[in-house]
């Protein structure tokens, strides 16, 4: 297991380096002078000249990369053109909303996805299965923003149960009760992902149910519910755990849309607004942070996977 962990960590390094090169090149792929791009439209020629020197833009590109990488490692992701603040602190401002949103979404995914998936698998072939797995596929086919708009229309505008947009910090007036701002967004974000988890739990449980140890458990007269949970579901959970890396990526993608629909001050909306404002340092910074986070999560998922299923690390 230790050897496997070290191997995986080492394998991460080249991918991470290559990803940083891509993120670095992003600024250079935009037509125009990078210094002028980074400073925005309002910069004077003197400012551009100063930054060109500071960033070493007159140097060969590989030295620029090393310089940039050195800054990144020290936590300096540059300065936002729009906010006139360090990029890292701009990202930090959106982190609370995004992390809370992701946590609540995960809560819904587990709460709905796993029990419905188990139900669908144990009632395999019956109308219950057809309705749940068909319904799951239908939910996976709904555009996130459309669902969000209609949830707002029904539950905020119509019934007035939940606020329709924004999110004051938990440290603001209202405290934990402010979480109600995140209920509709997190449900919106959870719907397509819970649907995928339902399909996945169902498929992997049906796979495991065909194995010998399950037949043995049934043959020795164990209660069907016990077989389903202890023998089938526990083993099926390995495949589900492995899918959580993928779920994270889907969450990030859909959070961009959901945060925009509900005007949440999170990192997802920050990306969209920065793109529309041409605030390239922020775009670059957010992408870098998300890519690193995604890699770390994938690593953790793989290590958990190896821990749950020892066959993996022996290969």
């Amino acid at each position: 297991m230790l050897v496997y962990t070290i191997k995986r960590l080492l394998a991460l390094v080249p991918t991470l380096l290559a990803a940083t090169i891509l993120v670095f090149l992003f600024i250079h792929l935009i037509p125009g002078d990078p210094a002028a791009i980074l400073l925005g439209d309002t910069a004077t020629p003197e400012e551009v000249a100063t930054l060109t020197r500071e960033m070493g833009l007159d140097e060969p590109i590989w030295r620029q990369y090393l310089l940039w990488l050195g800054n990144v490692i020290q936590g300096d992701l540059g300065t936002s053109v729009f906010f006139r603040q360090p990029v890292l602190s701009v990202i930090g401002d959106g982190a609370e909303t995004s992390i809370l949103l992701a946590t609540m979404t995960m809560f819904w995914i587990v709460l709905f996805g796993i029990p419905i998936g188990i139900l669908s698998a144990t009632r395999h072939g019956t109308w219950v299965d057809q309705v749940t797995s068909g319904g799951a596929m239908l939910f996976a086919s709904v555009p996130t923003f459309w669902l969000g708009l209609y949830l707002i229309l029904i539950f905020s505008v119509g019934l007035g149960w939940f606020p329709s947009s924004g999110f004051p910090s938990l440290s603001d007036n209202g405290g934990v009760a402010n979480l109600r701002y995140l209920i509709l967004p997190s449900l919106t974000l959870a719907a397509p992902n819970a649907a995928l988890i339902i399909r996945l739990v169902r498929a992997s449980m049906l796979d495991v149910a065909r194995e010998d140890h399950v037949r043995t458990a049934r043959a020795k007269g164990l209660h069907p519910a016990k077989v389903a949970i202890r023998h089938v579901f526990r083993n099926a959970l390995i495949a589900v755990a492995a899918a959580f890396g993928f779920t994270f990526a889907a969450l990030v993608s859909e959070a961009v849309v959901t945060e925009t629909v509900f005007s949440l001050p999170g990192i997802g909306r920050l990306v969209v607004q920065s793109i529309l404002r041409r605030d390239y340092p922020v775009i670059q910074g957010v992408i870098l942070v998300i890519v690193i986070l995604y890699m770390v999560i994938n690593l953790l998922v793989d290590l958990t996977y190896a821990r749950l299923d020892p066959r993996v690390s022996l290969k």
Partner: protein, 283 residues
Amino acid sequence: MNALKKFHAIFRGRKLATAGLIWLCIVAFAAIAAPLIAPFDPLEIDPVARLSEPGTPYLFGTDHFGRDSFSRAIYGARMAVMIGLGSVFVALGTGGLIGMLSAYFTRLGHVLMRGVDVLMAFPALLLALVLMTLLERSATNTIIVIGIVYATTTARILFGMTLKLKGEVFVDAAICSGAGHGSILFRHILPNLISPLLVQASFIFAFAQLQAAALDFLGLGLPPEVPSWGNMLSEERIYVTRAPWLLIFPGALIILSVFSMNLVGDAMRDSIDPRFKDDIAGV
């Protein structure tokens, strides 16, 4: 005849998937015959009839410019089919080729597949957004961007499947009979991958619809004047309380089409070679 039999076997007893297939045929027909079916010009503005309710002559009502929603929806089918087919073409063409070559030429594969790994470190929509910031808003660029995003998964899937086939006896036989690399790859291996590729294509088509709609919604997809289902939703969302029907029709069209494609893909997946079933990432 053989293809027809196989077709029958896939959809027999699957009412929902058959219904999905029928719906997709309707969408395809609307896309081809859009100018004949649409009662109005999708860009024609009628200021007097702004935000009219569904009825006659405006079947789906009109938007805030007074444009006929029904005609826009019909032309939207055209964009949907174009984006779907285009993305599938780009994804399978580039990703498929990279995957196959990587599995066949092991050394080249080490390099190419690491490149794919790096691109896969970017979540799908984020990668699409970043690429769109570098490009102009247009149908072609939307297709290229969505195609590239799904080229990565396609490359990985085809890599796995080609690797499995490479060790088969028929490949050895082809080598022994003096077949060249190109002939082995495209005349011996590729024909075995056609069915799984079709399944993969159907899922890419479905995902592409959702991604394109999301890009349109964020204002980074098709140019705003193009009548696509995503743009219809994006442009009219501020009128949702006054004219809720403006969002129901395009939304329902997207959902029905994506759902149908997923159903058809799911049905086809059950009929392919069981060795490849787990390789394909679908719903």
